[in-house]
């Protein structure tokens, strides 16, 4: 696999609004390596979602360029898929769980292979037993796992996640965080994970990029050197963890 998977070269997005152009993100330069977990953290209004939509090809940069596996990106790239925060809107409510998971691959793969991949993806997120249920019969955490399984079935090189756990309770969130790290180990997928939660960014990331200001810029990238496997209790009380947490809070401008 070509490394880096993603590369932004001073990319920026300026929206043409009625009252004139408004820069949303500016001068973004970053790399995402294969099987890397990159967290992007920042206060609201700094263009986190815009950055993710640009990486996902839903939005063209108005300046600079974004490269995927060395190619300049012109639209949603193959091998890159977004997992959205609002799982209830992002799932197809009229389809069963299994049929939701096959959504991204059913037009490309033969039926048999499609069914195999759906089973594997559901197994990875622990939802094999709920394959025939409809999304509205599942809890919020399970629905978000369906969305993750739908992305996994594509066997993407990169998963872009836009505050995927923001609407979930603390316990469900902790479980899914560990699940993501396990999935990264099992599938060697790269993750770009957007969050406003500094602890979550630190716990998950190999690196944490701080997006700040208006327009949003990457102000700092912090390499997180914490031992694996990470543990919800032990990792979070390591002095290094607290140190990273302090540094990132400082970088964002708290205290």
């Amino acid at each position: 696999m070509l490394d880096p998977v993603f590369e932004c070269r001073s990319a920026s997005v300026t929206l043409a609004l009625r009252d004139g152009p408004r820069p949303i993100i500016a001068d973004i330069s970053l790399e995402v390596h294969s099987a890397e977990f990159l967290s992007i953290v920042g206060p609201s209004g700094t263009g986190k979602t815009t950055l993710l939509r640009m990486l996902g090809g839903l939005l063209q940069p108005t300046g600079g360029e974004v490269l995927v596996k060395g190619q300049v990106m012109t639209g949603p790239p193959e091998d890159v898929v977004i997992v959205f925060q609002d799982y209830a809107n992002a799932l197809l409510q009229w389809r069963t769980v299994a049929s939701n998971v096959s959504f991204g691959i059913e037009r490309v793969l033969p039926r048999k292979e499609c069914a195999d991949r759906v089973r594997q993806a559901l197994d990875l997120v622990g939802l094999l037993g709920r394959a025939e249920d409809y999304p509205w019969q599942l809890s919020g955490g399970m629905q978000q796992r369906v969305q993750i399984a739908r992305a996994l079935a594509l066997r993407p090189a990169v998963m872009l996640m836009d505050e995927p756990f923001a609407a979930l309770d603390a316990m469900t969130k902790a479980g899914l965080q560990d699940e993501l790290l396990r999935l990264r180990d099992q599938t060697k997928t790269s993750f770009v994970f957007i969050t406003h939660d500094i602890e979550e960014a630190t716990y998950l990331g190999d690196r944490v990029a701080v997006l700040n200001g208006s327009p949003g810029r990457i102000e700092q990238v912090v390499a997180i050197d914490l031992p694996f496997p990470r543990d919800q209790i032990a990792t979070r009380q390591l002095p290094e963890f607290l140190e990273y947490r302090y540094r990132l809070h400082k970088a964002i401008g708290h205290g």
Partner: protein, 259 residues
């Protein structure tokens, strides 16, 4: 299993109340509390209905009304869904035509009966003019709303999975709008029945609507009420038919109960 569920869905207490009302009606008429010769008891209405059925004329009238509902509703669905889709997908078309629609929509369909009579005389065509015009609106408005109100997120999902614009419409937007389109189709069907009966009363001397008038003029209140009852039952059956068909074709679009 499906039939077991259907039975358990029957509203028994509601039916019991209905039966009580009928019994009370019967008792009141028989006891002579209401002394009005054109107000027959339910048993007399039933007997009148059986007479009409034996005669064969009830079936003939029923078939005529069913036919005109079927044709009228199909035309309305065709126009309503295609125009509704156009309005839903194109904000531009919506902007230019919504004012005209809002002016046309409140006009009662029956107001066009004289026009139909001028154009087509006392005929099925006149009946269809009266039936189709008002029946178009519910399905059109619901189709438009269904498409225009689809979560924009679904289009994002389509794009991140690299679907073409055409595939996004077919696999995401249309299925998401389907429940709303079906609601519109059901409202339109109920309206098609009402308008067909009205048209048969004023414009086309055939079918169940005309049967009501005919028996009224012949001073047969039992037969007249029997026709009215058949119209009511037909309405219930048509609605249940659409619901049943929908749950068969698209199980996930049927209104869900609890969790």
């Amino acid at each position: 299993m499906a039939s077991g569920r259907a039975v358990s869905r029957i509203n028994w207490p509601g039916l019991a109340v209905l039966a009580l009302v009928l019994l009370a009606w019967e008792a009141v008429v028989r006891a002579g509390v209401i002394d009005f010769e054109f107000f027959p008891a339910p048993s007399a209405i039933l007997a009148g209905g059986i007479e009409l059925a034996k005669d064969g004329i009830l079936l003939q009238d029923l078939l005529h009304t069913l036919l005109s509902i079927a044709i009228g509703w199909s035309i309305a669905m065709l126009i309503g869904i295609s125009v509704g889709l156009l309005l839903g997908f194109s904000p531009l078309v919506r902007r230019y035509s919504l004012a005209s629609i809002e002016v046309l929509r409140p006009m009662p369909g029956i107001a066009f009966a004289p026009l139909g009579l001028l154009l087509f005389g006392f005929s099925l065509q006149t009946e269809l003019v009266v039936t189709v015009l008002p029946t178009v609106w519910p399905v059109m408005i619901n189709t438009m709303g269904g498409i225009a109100n689809v979560q924009p997120r679904l289009a994002d999902v389509g794009r991140t999975f690299r679907l073409s614009r055409h595939e996004i419409i077919r696999h995401l937007l249309l299925p998401a709008a389907l429940p709303s389109i079906i609601v519109g189709a059901r409202i339109s069907l109920g309206l098609a029945l009402v308008m067909a009966i009205v048209a048969e009363i004023v414009g086309n001397p055939e079918g169940l609507g005309y049967g009501i008038v005919r028996e009224q003029q012949a001073l047969h209140p039992e037969a007249m009420f029997a026709y009215i009852a058949v119209v009511g039952v037909l309405g219930v059956i048509l609605n249940a038919g659409v619901l049943g068909l929908t749950s068969l074709l698209w199980p996930a679009t049927v209104p869900r109960r609890g969790m």
